[in-house]
């Protein structure tokens, strides 16, 4: 076995009484690539935040080369050679590559002014090392996401990082970019760097990782050499239960067509046509950037439609704003919860009523506060939203409960069509199950549901049909009997339907 550089032992973390990590062990070996696996909410990012000093652990110890260490801040972990590259890159778009690499550590001349020529030549050195063919003067915003990722790696290396943590690094990359990233990772490994690789893409794990650690619901499941594992074993460890148990599927008998979209075309979506039936869950799968969210938001009136028709119950309708969409009974639960799903500064009650406030007010806009309160109480109990009361601010709720509030807000507009965009993103496993049950409840009541998700098991487990998108186009729709991870994936990467 290779030499351990980092050893985290019996790590426990609780957030005001809620245990999110319970006795987790995690090792990083010198010159090896460790995969960190688990479902969303399994505790991967919390664990990494403890390692990098963002959070402090409740108990347990961290050994660096056998010596106990404490990282009270990210500065301290950085000094010990630990760098993390987040899924959402931390680069400043309007600065150059060089300025980003050396941000806050710019080489200085005697007069304390920036030594620009050294800044550029030093940056060039790192770019060359990683085989990035770009001018260090180039602005970040002009680079592809893949190149930006490599700039983040260059930055980490320039900080003398010995351990680099990568969180879903290939999420937004093209195949060619992924290949190049893997080459870089392999060369870093040869130079003795250690990598922690977090990804949901199991194929990649087998391609480049040496070890894998699996977490589930905040507990440590196993650490294994990659050659002792296969995909099924990993999934079993991650999920710990059969898919059928996790996704309480309801069968659907074909209802009437409720919504028909014909040839919808705009900046993001090309010639999209599909239909949605009453009481059906239509899953939309695809990789990041495939245009799923954009399609949903175009129907919801956020993005302008250049061409195409939307037909609701046989009548063509025009939707120019979210207000129009809600008027027609189309509601949208956003994937970007904090960005545009909920209002963190308002309380539970005010969020739930926000999209349907007209139904809580009189002719002069005077609010019926009692009626509003009663509705909030009803949703809190029927959706088991965990909050201290209707007046708790949304910012103090957990992700899962915020998501339930976001759904409740849309539900209260009494939609006939509910679009759920990544309904369980950043939601813990328990709440996930509850959200699935709610979705099925809506389905039973005859609501038509469009569910966008990046988690293929979720799509397969919940949908009646799966529509797959790639680069703004609908590649095909697979009936649930024929659906498989592979068939979805091959459409998602742009293969034609008849190839399956």
């Amino acid at each position: 076995m290779a030499e351990k550089i980092i050893s985290m032992k019996n790590i426990v973390k609780d957030f005001s009484g809620v245990v999110v990590l319970n006795n987790v062990d995690f090792n990083i070996y010198k010159g090896q690539i460790m995969a960190l696996l688990g479902e969303n909410g399994a505790g991967k990012s919390t664990l990494m935040k403890i390692l990098t000093g963002v959070y402090t652990r409740t108990s347990g110890e961290i050994l660096l080369n056998g010596n106990p260490v404490n990282f009270p801040s990210t500065k301290e972990s950085q000094k010990s050679g630990i760098a993390i590259i987040h899924q959402e890159l931390n680069l400043i778009q309007h600065l150059s590559i060089a300025e980003n690499i050396f941000l806050g550590r710019e080489p200085l001349r005697k007069g304390r002014s920036i030594d620009w020529s050294r800044l550029y030549s030093d940056s060039q050195k790192w770019l060359d090392l990683l085989g990035i063919n770009e001018n260090p003067r180039e602005l970040i915003k002009n680079l592809s996401v893949g190149k930006q990722q490599l700039v983040e790696i260059a930055k980490a290396l320039s900080l003398d990082a010995k351990i680099i943590i990568m969180d879903e690094p290939t999420g937004a990359l093209t195949d060619a970019e992924t290949e190049r990233l893997f080459k870089v990772i392999k060369s870093l490994k040869e130079k003795g760097h250690s990598i922690v690789y977090i990804s949901h893409r199991l194929k990649e794990i087998f391609q480049i990782c040496d070890y894998a650690t699996v977490l589930r619901d905040g507990t440590f499941i196993a650490e294994k050499r990659i050659q002792d594992l296969d995909e099924d074993k990993i999934i079993e460890m991650m999920v710990g239960r059969k898919l059928t148990e996790q996704y309480p599927r309801l069968d659907h008998n074909n209802g009437d067509i409720v919504l028909e979209v014909r040839g919808l075309t705009n900046k993001f979506v090309k010639d999209a046509s599909f239909e949605l039936r009453k009481g059906e869950i239509l899953g939309i799968a695809g990789l990041m950037g495939s245009g799923r969210t954009e399609l949903a938001r175009s129907i919801y009136g956020i993005y302008k439609i250049d061409k195409g028709e939307i037909i609701l119950n046989g009548n063509q309708i025009t939707i120019r704003s979210s207000a129009d969409a809600l008027q027609h009974g189309i509601a949208y639960v956003s994937e970007d919860r904090k960005g545009n799903g909920i209002v963190l500064g308002l309380n539970v009650k005010e969020n739930i009523s926000l999209a349907s406030l007209k139904s809580f007010s009189g002719r002069f806009g005077n609010l019926h506060l009692v009626k509003e309160e009663e509705a909030a109480v009803k949703y809190i109990s029927s959706m088991s939203i965990k909050a201290t009361g209707t007046k708790q601010l949304l910012k103090y709720l957990s992700g899962g409960n915020q998501q339930k509030v976001s759904i409740a807000k849309n539900l209260n507009t009494r939609p006939r069509i509910l679009i759920l965009d990544e309904p369980t993103r950043g939601v813990d496993v328990g709440a996930k199950k509850e959200i699935y049950e709610l979705i099925n409840q809506f389905k039973k009541e005859g609501m038509s549901i469009i569910m966008i998700s990046s988690e293929i098991p979720e799509i397969i487990g919940m949908s009646d049909r799966v529509m797959v998108m790639h680069e703004g186009r609908i590649m095909g729709t697979i009936p649930i009997e024929k659906v498989s991870q592979e068939s979805i994936m091959s459409l998602a990467v742009g293969k034609e339907m008849d190839g399956i």
Partner: protein
């Protein structure tokens, strides 16, 4: 009364309302330092002097709550005052004059709103522009000279707005109280008030909830303009003339009152009650410094210090929460 006797709830109330503590301390200190302070006459004077800033600060509260700002209020006050004075001296019915001046304020506010929504300008920039523009127009129109209302037919009736009393309470103070009550009602009990808080906290999410955020913004800047015009009417009525430079720097006093009242400059958080207290603190401070015969140059120094201390107290409390 039982609530008043409950020590714990009083403590909680005061902790939640730090600005009120600052106000009470100021009152206490003044009562000790100067025996003329706690007289009915002086209190009424303080309230009357506060009223104009309070009315403007109410509009400013709306603008800041929504995540914006309105720098043009001082200039709106001046131009609406000048228009009112001109119309009064031309013999127009005072009631009609008041309505027209309010309409002018509303119209200017809507222009601010259109610049911000349709023109996509930052509120700071848009209202900085209209502030300068309107001040210029006022100076050109008045040729830099005051416009007197003296001698005109409706002059006496018009002057009642600023100088009259009802039941021993100055009319400007009554106007201030009415404005506070209406503003409170709008923010807490009317749909658009809820939208104001929602937009200030997360504009995108509010838009996604099917709310026409542009309309809410037009309402807010329209209201801010109309309240500034109301300030202009009161001041012109009280002085019996419109000064071309009146209202200069009033936007800063209004912002100070709003911020002292605990409203966040980032939007989404704040109350009319807080703004009322904030305006009182500033009014009281002006009065106190005069009663104590502090030379005028030092008055600004003292005001600045009190504002900073009060705001710091509030921040510290919020940070530790």
């Amino acid at each position: 009364m039982r609530i008043l006797l409950n020590k714990a709830s009083i403590k909680e109330f005061l902790l939640k309302n730090k600005p009120l503590i600052v106000l009470l301390i100021l009152c206490f200190v003044m009562a000790v330092l100067n025996d003329r302070f706690w007289t009915w006459n002086n209190i009424v004077t303080v309230l009357r002097q506060t009223s104009i800033n309070a009315v403007i600060a109410t509009g400013m509260t709306f603008a800041i709550l929504i995540g914006g700002i309105d720098l043009s209020v001082g200039s709106v006050l001046a131009i609406c005052g000048a228009m009112a004075a001109t119309l009064i001296s031309s013999g127009m019915d005072p009631l009609l004059v008041v309505l027209l001046a309010l309409m002018l304020g509303l119209a200017i506010g809507l222009v601010n709103g259109i610049l911000i929504t349709k023109g996509r300008l930052q509120p700071f920039i848009a209202t900085l522009g209209t502030m300068t523009l309107l001040r210029g127009i006022t100076l050109v129109y008045t040729q830099g000279k005051p416009i007197s209302t003296a001698g005109a037919e409706g002059s006496l009736a018009f002057s009642k707005i600023g100088t009259g009393y009802i039941l021993g309470i100055p009319i400007p103070v009554l106007i201030m109280i009415i404005v506070f009550v209406i503003a409170y009602y709008i923010l807490r009990h009317i749909r658009i008030g809820r939208y104001i808080y929602a937009i200030g906290s997360n504009e995108e999410a509010t838009m996604y909830s099917g709310i026409k955020t542009d309309n809410v913004k037009l309402f807010v800047y329209g209201a801010a303009g109309m309240l500034a015009a109301l300030g202009g009417i009161i001041i012109t009525s009280r002085l019996g003339s419109a000064q071309p430079t009146s209202g200069l720097g009033y936007e800063l006093d209004a912002i100070a009152a709003v911020v002292l009242g605990g409203t966040s400059m980032a939007g989404g958080v704040g109350t009319i009650f807080g703004t009322a207290i904030g305006a009182m603190i500033i009014g009281l401070l002006n009065n106190a410094l005069n009663l104590l015969q502090v030379p005028s140059y030092y008055q600004d120094v003292a005001k600045g210090v009190v504002i900073l201390i009060a705001v710091l107290l509030d921040r510290k409390q919020k940070a530790s929460r």
